[in-house]
């Protein structure tokens, strides 16, 4: 076959594969949205679920998912950034760092149900945190931390060496070079990594079954004191997230409209993830422009 024909053929194949993937994605999204969107209403988004009667909502679950995301990120981002900076800038190549890297890789590919059971035994029972948002956030940190560390490390390594040297040559200390010269350049990549990590918080169910629990106490959305038992902001209360709720409704829901609730909740979950991605990207761009005088 002539090289030119071959080239055309392969271009066709690659374009075809691309379209196939886009079509699959569009079909999946469309299916979930079309099935679910009819059920979404203000009432559905704000009211608590019903266990036997029809007409239950997903208000607390939606709030729990967002709150859990914030909690997890509060724990993950500083730890991940710190470890990532250490791995890329301070750690000397040695057996220890090779071992840390191996552990990080293994952690990130841990089956989530195992992490859930580990969380139940260690965080929930041993440390006595109980089935709570905090336990859930700590369990999710187990997944997210490796991702965050690796992304930060790679983002910093991708910063051109001359940028780092320029900072040092001006007589800046190593720490200031990292924080004022290198991290701003790495921000877009770190934001992307954070979004990936955050996506797991929304989607994760198995690890949360045993750590954050499958029930939500009656929440009083007028009481914002984090120390009160029925306050939505209390991190030590059990909290069922949206993904867990979808699983529960599907597998053991007794309400007559369980199928619609699951479909509606799935649509809401997808839209939330999309919105979150857009917001995070926008925030990352603003941050980058602010730190680097834009371009």
């Amino acid at each position: 076959m002539k090289a030119k024909t071959m080239d055309r053929l392969m271009t066709g194949v690659i374009v075809g594969v691309g379209f196939l993937i886009i079509a699959l994605l569009a079909a999946l999204l469309g299916y979930l949205l079309i099935r679910g969107v009819g059920h979404i209403s203000w009432h559905f988004l704000t009211s608590p679920p019903e266990s036997i009667r029809a007409g239950g909502g997903i208000g607390p679950q939606l709030f729990n998912s967002l709150f859990l995301l914030v909690l997890t990120m509060i724990i993950t981002i500083p730890l991940g950034l710190g470890a990532g900076i250490y791995m890329s800038e301070y750690a000397k190549p040695s057996r220890l760092t090779a071992f840390i890297r191996l552990v990080v890789e293994v952690l990130s590919s841990f089956p989530s149900i195992v992490v859930g059971l580990f969380g139940l035994l260690v965080i929930v029972n041993r440390f006595g945190l109980g089935l709570s948002l905090m336990s859930g956030a700590l369990a999710l940190t187990v997944f997210n931390l490796p991702l965050m560390v690796r992304i930060t490390e790679q983002a910093l390594r991708a910063v051109p060496r001359e940028q780092k040297e320029a900072g040092l040559a001006l007589g800046l200390s190593r720490w200031r070079t990292i924080t004022t010269v290198m991290v701003p350049i790495a921000v877009p990549a770190i934001v992307t990594g954070t979004i990936l990590a955050a996506g797991r918080v929304f989607g994760e169910a198995a690890a949360l079954l045993f750590t954050a629990g499958m029930s939500s106490p009656r929440l009083d959305f007028t009481d914002w004191n984090p120390l009160h038992h029925t306050s939505p902001l209390n991190p030590f209360r059990p909290a069922e997230t949206l993904a867990v709720h979808i699983w529960k409704v599907n597998s053991e829901g007794l309400a007559p409209d369980a199928a619609q609730i699951a479909a509606g909740a799935s649509a809401v979950l997808i839209v939330t993830v999309l919105l979150f991605n857009l917001c995070a990207r926008w925030l990352g761009r603003v941050l980058y422009r602010k730190l680097t005088a834009g371009r």
Partner: protein, 295 residues
Amino acid sequence: MTLIATDKNKAAPTPEDAKPAAMQPLPDAGPGEPIKPQPATDREPAPAFYTKDLSVYYGEKQAIKHVSMAFPDREVVALIGPSGCGKSTFLRSLNRMNDLIPGASIEGEIWIGGHNICDPRTDVVRLRQRIGMVWQRPNPFHKSIYENVAFGPRYHGVKRKAELDAIVEDCLRKTALWDEVKDRLGQSGLALSGGQQQRLCIARSIAVKPDILLMDEPASALDPVSTAKVEELIAELKRDYTIVIVTHNMHQAARVSDKTAFFFLGDLIEYDNTNKIFTNPSRKSTDDYISGRFG
């Protein structure tokens, strides 16, 4: 606070043409205090600095072999030689930038203003403030034009806006960039052309008032017009700074430098007045290289 313990300085060994007694000590300005401007007139024309028996290793490989040479105050020294001859390595060891490369180690002495900077107790951060550096590829910070210049002085303690403005204007004027950028100081330094970026980098490095400028092929990534501008600039800067420049371009070495050093396979083959090197070199390999028979 001085760079290193003082008792060591008195026993400063002297190579043939170096007179350490005439050198001025390092300034005490720390990151907390503003840098005192160095009056350019009251300095004796003495060797600003010299190396003694300097060897640099990358792992087992010896990249620089026992080089002793003195750099006269406020003159331009060009380092020439074929690729891989060690001239860049030599340049980068002068501000301990090779410390960043894993496996690189250094033997021998580099004396600057009465301090052996190879001493492990040397405050490298303070040292680098006295030695500016310009790289082959322009590497402005991902910050505004103003911020690129103001960044160093601000870090070293210049806080007042008016003072910073004056430094920025002064440095940009010295690098003949002021008229081209004065109306868009807030724009990103990356928005400039390659030649402008390189001059911005030079402005950035002189903003912290160094004594010495190290230039690693500063014009090799630039077009002929920008190259001419950078060369003019070097001739200007010579009045205030001791300059060491690595170049691949023989004509450039002949045009800008007062003295020229020819490196080959890590050895300093010949070091003499530029005129002499280019018209009547003492060593055959120098002649071969200059007349284009190899390298």
